[in-house]
Structures are given as structure tokens and as C-alpha cells.
Symmetry: C2
């Protein structure tokens, strides 16, 4: 089994920067690339090198990691004119850590394989805090062999690392995560809507109910923000909606009926329509407030 030492990291966003820094901390060399070149600065300060194209970043890489916004972005950094696939050496393994459509991830895997390389998808959960602390959950899809070979790389960035199945399965489990997170926060906001109507002190609901059958990450982390009227995002409505679109498309492809997911997507659309797209996902509460009697 190879020990991977040299990593190309494509995409220096809110997630990519701390993930790349954790790789450096773990002893990997990191060559990074970002469309807006200035965003590579924090990684360069931490000991990485900045490259002008994905192709250049990939030149000596054992592992090429992409962590970008959507499917077309992944295709562009891998297969575009200056794409990483054109610079990679034999035996390079491509790891896409973006959240994209499962079907698109399968297609990308097949294109990477057709060029003679290996591919593993590995979307993550845990947000920017998890990325900074190296405590991401990593949801891998790909062959067992490739997954095992990537263990040291994943261990530098995450804590709970799971092989979910072949290509597509990791993205699928990521969408399961988004579905549950969505319904959990809707539950908190509907509870608050009733409580507000009944003049119940919102601040005591978390204390009274946490630990019981109503418990959720949303109750433990977002209820107090709603009670305080703090709409700052841990995770933005606009980003959640990008993921809900992937959820509903994937569900359509396999003919799975998701009435709650469809509903909460419409409610978040109302948040977006009211200019709250860059608030946190708990801005659902504002949607319900607008729908309900303000008395």
C-alpha cells in the first residue's frame, strides 16, 4: 500500500482552506488551487504552495482532492482545458469532497476511470467548525481498496469516516443527512411557532425537552439562536436549498416520495423570496412567523 504524501487541493472555500491546513498539519505537502487566487493565501502561510491551474497543482500529487460548489465546478477543475486530469501522474487517486448529485458523481467517476485513474467521492458533514477541528464526518463512495488506501488522508480531516458503498452512495448518504437536518429544524420552528402563539417562554423549551424524544442537533444548537432572534448562519438557507434541489432530483430518479422534504424546500423558498437566503437555515422560523398570527 502506498503512503500518500503529496496532495493537490482544488477549491479554497470556507471548507477547503481549513481542510488543507489540517493536511499540512498532519505532514502532507499541499499544492492548492483556487479560481480566485487570493484565497490560497492562508494555506500558503501554513506551508502550502499555490498553483495557477488545477493541472499544475496535480503534477506531483499522489492524491487530487476537489472541494468545490457543484457538479459543473468539479468537471471543470478535473476535465477542463487546465484540468487536473491533464497533469496527473500514473496511480494518482482523485477524491471529490464536494456535495454534488449522486448521478453526476457516478459519471465523473467513470470519466476519471476512463482516463486510467482511480476515483473516490467523499462528501463531508460537520460544517466549517468540523473542517477547522478535523472532526468532519466523511461519507465515502468508491471501492473498498481505494477507500482503505485513503485512510491517512481522511484521518487528517475527519473523525467518523464511513464507506457508504460504490460511487453515488456517499453522495446519497450526504443527502440523507440534509433531509434529516431539514426536518429536524422544521420541527423546532413549528414547536416555536406554537409556543410563541401560546405565550410560552421560548428559552425554556430546550432546557425542558433536551435529552428526550424531541432531542436533535437542531434543538441543541439552533433553538437558542431562534429564541435570541440571531439569524446568523452556521449553514445558509441558499446552500441548504442547493442541497435540497439535489435531494429532490435524486428522489425523482429513484421514484422515492418525500413530502416533508418537498414542503420544507418550499418554506425555505419563501425565506429566499423575502431576502433571507443568506441567513441560517433556522430562518424557517421567520417564515412561520410571517404565516402565523403575530399576536
Amino acid at each position: 500500500m502506498n503512503t500518500h504524501q503529496s496532495i493537490a487541493f482544488l477549491g479554497m472555500g470556507l471548507m477547503g482552506v481549513p481542510m488543507a491546513r489540517n493536511l499540512l498539519k498532519a505532514g502532507f505537502t499541499v499544492a492548492c488551487y483556487n479560481r480566485t487566487a487570493s484565497k490560497t493565501a492562508p494555506v500558503v502561510e501554513s506551508g502550502g504552495t499555490a498553483c495557477l491551474s488545477p493541472k499544475e497543482a496535480a503534477r506531483n500529487a499522489d492524491v487530487v482532492i476537489s472541494c468545490v460548489t457543484n457538479g459543473p465546478d468539479v468537471e471543470n477543475v478535473l476535465f477542463g482545458d487546465e484540468g487536473a486530469i491533464h497533469g496527473a501522474k500514473a496511480d494518482t487517486i482523485f477524491v471529490d469532497m464536494s456535495t454534488i448529485a449522486p448521478a453526476v458523481s457516478v459519471e465523473i467517476g467513470a470519466r476519471v476511470k476512463a482516463k486510467g485513474f482511480r476515483f473516490v467521492e467523499a462528501p463531508v458533514t460537520g460544517g466549517t467548525v468540523g473542517a477547522q477541528n478535523g472532526t468532519l464526518s466523511i461519507l465515502a463512495g468508491g471501492s473498498e481498496e481505494d477507500f482503505l488506501e485513503l485512510q491517512p488522508v481522511f484521518a487528517a480531516m475527519g473523525k467518523n469516516v464511513t464507506r457508504c458503498g460504490p460511487w453515488g452512495a456517499g453522495q446519497g448518504v450526504k443527502l440523507c443527512n440534509q433531509i434529516m437536518g431539514a426536518m429536524n429544524i422544521l420541527g423546532v420552528c413549528e414547536a416555536f411557532s406554537l409556543a410563541r402563539g401560546m405565550k410560552i417562554d421560548l428559552a425554556l423549551i430546550e432546557k425542558a425537552l433536551n435529552g428526550g424524544a424531541a432531542s436533535s442537533w437542531a434543538l441543541q444548537n439552533l433553538a437558542r439562536k431562534i429564541a435570541a432572534g440571531d439569524w446568523s448562519p452556521g449553514f445558509m438557507v441558499d446552500t441548504q436549498q442547493k442541497d435540497m434541489k439535489l435531494v429532490l432530483e435524486a428522489a425523482e430518479q429513484v421514484q422515492a416520495v418525500l413530502p416533508g422534504s418537498a414542503l420544507v424546500t418550499q418554506l425555505w423558498r419563501s425565506a429566499q423570496a423575502n431576502g433571507d437566503g443568506s441567513d441560517g437555515i433556522h430562518a424557517l422560523d421567520k417564515v412561520l412567523q410571517r404565516l402565523s398570527n403575530p399576536k
Copy 2:
């Protein structure tokens, strides 16, 4: 402040029996009553006495606890011809631990007060397991003074004891609990619906996602039952639906709009229509399976 020693316990159901036994264990005397008299046997075996009417049970009680199915049942055991109110001594405090409509609880409180007694509502969460282990969450509504006086009684039955506000507020917070529990299990079932369609191993979803933003009591406790096709109830669909009716009625009274709660109630109605009313609430999964492509 009195120390309450003598308790009348009205309603020997799945919750009442273990709650009464925990009171005995804590040193209280317990006189119990149940419509079907045979159900008092386990409490009598544990040292309680059985009475033929609520009135008789209340005769020497410092505290009269009711824990029955619905509002009319509470009214009957308190105010009926043989109701506890007719047997109670001065200074008795009435505690209703049933889950009933907040508005009905307020009415009952007023009727108890009109008869010269005190009233505290105290619905619980935590199910039969919590009742047995004395780890219920108790959601009280009533005066601060009465609440404080009842601390030893509550401590014998529960762990997280909260005064939620005046009459109605405890029942309101209980309904908040039911709303969140409902949306959390819907999220798990929709995630499983997508995963099943995508041929993802259902058993790994809990392991991969627990601890993250998708976490909930439902994911931690019910996902494995769904994956195993085990529909045995922790909490029955029929009982949940009784509570969802209270949720939607209370919401209507305060003009709170709860689209997710309305939706999940309809889905559980489908479970009931298909003969699954006595399954656990996670039988929502079967509803989604029937709606979705079984491939």
C-alpha cells in the same frame, strides 16, 4: 411548607403503574384507583392500597395525581359523581399528569380552584421506560409556589422537572415535544426512503451520520428498528395521533401555522388506514414505502 406523604393516584395505565411504584419506593403512601380495578394489582403488590372510587382514594390524600387518557377522563375522575374532588380534604393539591388540550387543562384548573383546591398540570415525556426508571421529564404548569411544594413528589418520578409557566404552558411544551418528535421521525423515514431507492445499506446511515447535524433521538433509537423491519411500538401511531390532534387544535386556537405537523398527521392517518395504528410511530416508513416505487 408541607411535606406531602399521602398520595392518591388515579389511572393505572402503562405510565401510572410504574409512576405510582416509584412514589412508594420514595416513601409515599399511595392509594390508587383504576376504572378496570384489576390493573391496580401491581401497585398493591408494591405496598399501595386499591380504592373503589377516585373519591375514596382522595380521602386522606395530600396530593391527588391523575394520569389518564384524555380531557373527559380527567374531568370524570375529578368531578364525576364519585370524583376525587368530593373526597379531598382541605389543602389537597391536584396534579394532572395526563396529556390533554392546554385549554381544557386551564378549564380544569379553574374548576378545581373554584372548589377551593390548588391545581398543577404536569404532563410528562420519556415513555414507559422513563416512568419505570424514574427519569421522566416533567413539564409543569401552575403557580411557582405550588410547583415548589411538589418538588419531592416530582423528584420521585422524574429527572428533568421544569415549570413552563401558568396552567396550559406545561401542556403547551408537551405539544412542542410531540411536534419535534414527529418531524424528527419523518426526517429519518424520508432519508430511508431515498436510501432504499438508491440501494444504500440502511444499517450504515445511523453510524455514518449520528453525532452530526442530522442527529436526533429518532435517528439514535428508531433507525435501527426500521432497518430491521421491527415495527413494535415504543410509542404507538394511535397515541401519537391523539397528541397530533391536540397540537393542531391548539395551533388553530392561537392561529399558528404548522404545515409540517399537518402533513405528518396525514401520513400517520394513512398508517392507521392501512391497519398499522398500533405499530410504533416509525411505521411512517411503511407509509412512504407504499407511496414510493418498490423497486
